[in-house]
């Protein structure tokens, strides 16, 4: 959808159609004729310039950064992903934040790539630490269960 904004207008000279001072052909017969406007102005006309500007949802350009994505690169020699981890992507200030709501885990970076690297390192550390403890509180026990659905040790 496009809407017209207040158009700028100028007064322009209107000349009669056709050309004056032209020759039918050049001296050699091959040259194109010179084109000169008629010198006598017919009138002045007002010319308006209509500018088309996008309105509504189209006014913001689509972002190349997705709002959601699935994380599939744990990059760890000991652990692998059973399934990709769903992440929400937000921009806070100048930083990109990726969040895994189910496990209350996040990653931060100046770019989406850096935020994903940060998230991967955090999840790896969380998995290691949470499996070191014989006993956990109810919330961490729940996170351990969720982690188990997504991450598994690599078989040797």
């Amino acid at each position: 959808m496009a809407t017209a904004v207040t158009p700028p207008s100028v007064l322009a000279d209107l000349f009669p159609s056709g050309m004056a001072g032209t020759k039918a052909e050049g001296p050699s017969g091959a040259m194109l004729p010179g084109q000169v406007a008629q010198p006598e102005r017919v009138s002045k006309v007002e010319v308006k310039f209509f500018l088309a500007a996008p309105a509504g949802p189209l006014q913001t350009l689509p972002s190349a950064r997705p709002g959601k994505l699935k994380f599939g690169a744990l990059n760890d020699p000991q652990y692998r992903l059973r399934q990709p981890i769903p992440l929400a992507v937000t921009v806070e200030g100048a930083s990109v934040v990726v969040g895994w709501t189910e496990a209350d885990e996040f990653g931060v970076g100046n770019t989406l790539s850096a935020a994903l690297d940060d998230f991967g390192a955090s999840v790896r550390e969380l998995y290691r630490r949470i499996h070191e403890s014989e006993q956990l509180g109810p919330d961490l026990e729940n996170i351990k269960r969720i982690l188990g659905e997504y991450i598994a040790p690599r078989s040797r």
């Binding site: 209350d104 509180g137 919330d139």
Partner: protein, 105 residues
């Protein structure tokens, strides 16, 4: 809400959380020998600290989070909050593991 790294460090120190330095500072609240809460912050004071995400990890609302930063909420107060939210279950009343609900943020 904006929280800087030093404010998160202040909370970690106040609550006496166990810390481990890897690529980030990982902190765990241990109660009666059992880890009950985890959080972390990235190194570097200039790195953005997502306060809302850390608040969710600590299982507190915005007012309680502000209290943790400003000293209005003590460690004892915080433990009471976690007990009320069933994030901490005192040992004499621990239910079977499969009946532990996830505490809301």
């Amino acid at each position: 809400m904006d929280a800087k790294a030093r404010e998160i460090d202040k909370i970690i120190r106040k609550l006496g959380m166990e810390t481990r330095n890897t690529s980030d500072l990982h902190a765990w609240l241990v109660y009666d020998g059992v880890p009950v809460i985890k959080t972390r912050r990235s190194f570097g004071n200039s790195k953005y600290v997502p306060a809302d995400k850390i608040r969710c990890q600590l299982k507190v609302n915005e007012q309680q989070f502000a209290g943790l930063i400003s000293c209005d909420v003590t460690k004892e107060d915080y433990i009471k909050i976690l007990i009320a939210k069933r994030v901490i279950i005192p040992k004499q009343e621990q239910p079977p593991a499969d009946q532990t609900p996830k505490a809301p943020c």
